[in-house]
Point group: D2
Chain length 166, copies 4
């Protein structure tokens, strides 16, 4: 299923490296190589719960684009209503998989709209990305939290050993 | 929008009193009158975030019923896959509005499938209620938490005064 | 209990108007009067679950300050370890009471440390505010979400009526 | 730190096998061997965020036992007040690490109080286990969710490969 999700993201304009660049920026002062960020993004997208959230959110975006949702939902999703809330909830389901430390980054990204998130949010060309911009923020925040956890647990008896097998 | 949501719930086989009966059972030993439970359910459904979750979840159920979602999502929702997870996430968005004490009831309902939840979950007649059974559990858990909070704060200077205006 | 909580916040250096100023800044372009922000902060602090989170978080801060927690917890809380996570979890319990739209503001505040949050976070004078800075961000984010919900539901039959009684 | 946490749990009356027995019961019809449940519990306890929640919750239990928390918090924790809520929030921080599917089991355990959870909750001998019973339910629910995810992804290219390395 991971391949289906990666293809779908690409069809909607999002490449793994786009997300990895945001992760690198979030990790900032730690100067994490892009390849490590790419691996972290791929691990997050490999989680079943993340895949389900991504499939569901993009399906809702595409349906709204084609006016395929019942009203008043279609209008709410099309205009990315600030009080809708379901988009944030789905994205947080992903971020939570790496603990609460990612929640801060998620909120920050959602406000600052770094990189590809800003592009998705610009509402050009009639496309609807109400869910996708939040999903990308959620994936990036999770991947950055994962990098932080891994880097903190470098010692031979540290908790990363268990995390690595879990 | 509350009227739209109430009508939609009824079309899908769920009346406010069905949910209120579950609330009364959850409140159990406190012996809360059904009318109080009805009022609490209506207050929960009056919240904008609850309405958005209900509209979104039922739209996904109906689309899956008509094979209107892209694969593999359509199959996952149709067969109510235990590891899907998005249905629980949407429902918890409702329960959380009344704090963490409702989470216990939500989990309990999801396992025990009291009242209308059991009927929705029986997968009769080709209908898909993957989201609706969880949404009903989420609403009932929130309404029961609200009753508990209100009953605890009976004093004239208690926190219920603030809650009542918030 | 609300009075106890307000006094405790003040003893730790946080006044309601400090938090209200952050709320006003979050609401930004909507130009919400400070008095409305003050009322919203007071409503949030009037909620029982918010009070419990505040009492617990400040107790942990004060205990860490006096080296009254068992190790290794005392050291983790004293140095406000970025991967601790429990401080964010407690604060989110407050923000969640007003739905998922507040989560974005919470994350933003946690990174940008506006107003009093920055002061608390500066670790001057030996005080420990590991929980308090997050709690203030959580209260401010919840209060801003509440203002947004109230302003969106201005019509006579809008969802604010139900919200007002719930 | 994992060793510190395991020792602390044992001092408070909880062995890994006690939790694993609850996991086996949750997995019920799948008939999961106890050793697999033990491994899953150990993996959950190996996660840093789980360790932080456990250290914090048990510290609060022990402090309340010795009347070492400020009032009114000490009384609230001592009598395990149903509307306290912070105990559930900490426990859910653990369960969330394995996605939303564990939330149902958590709520169920919190109501049914299987095995060691029931013993902790019986308030014998003056001990306070306000946090510990919820923490054990949270660990068991997470470990059961982990088993379910692992068993679902048995195929060579399934998502478990990524999960295993993440």
């Amino acid at each position: 299923m991971k391949d289906v999700v990666l293809r779908l993201l690409e069809e909607r304009g999002v490449k793994v490296t786009d997300i990895a660049q945001i992760v690198a920026e979030l990790c900032g002062p730690d100067d994490v190589p892009l390849e490590e960020c790419v691996r972290s993004v791929e691990t997050v997208i490999g989680k079943r719960e993340a895949q389900h959230a991504i499939l569901t959110g993009i399906a809702l975006d595409v349906l709204a684009e084609r006016n395929g949702l019942p009203e008043p939902l279609n209008a709410i999703v099309r205009r990315d209503e600030p009080l809708y809330g379901v988009d944030e909830i789905l994205a947080l389901g992903i971020t939570n998989l790496y603990g609460s430390v990612g929640l801060t980054s998620f909120g920050y990204l959602d406000k600052r709209k770094l990189g590809i998130i800003g592009k998705l949010n610009s509402h050009r060309s009639g496309q609807v990305h109400t869910f996708l911009d939040d999903l990308v923020a959620g994936i990036a925040a999770a991947a950055a939290a994962r990098v932080a956890h891994q880097r903190a647990g470098v010692g031979p008896s540290g908790p990363d050993r268990q995390a690595a097998s879990g």
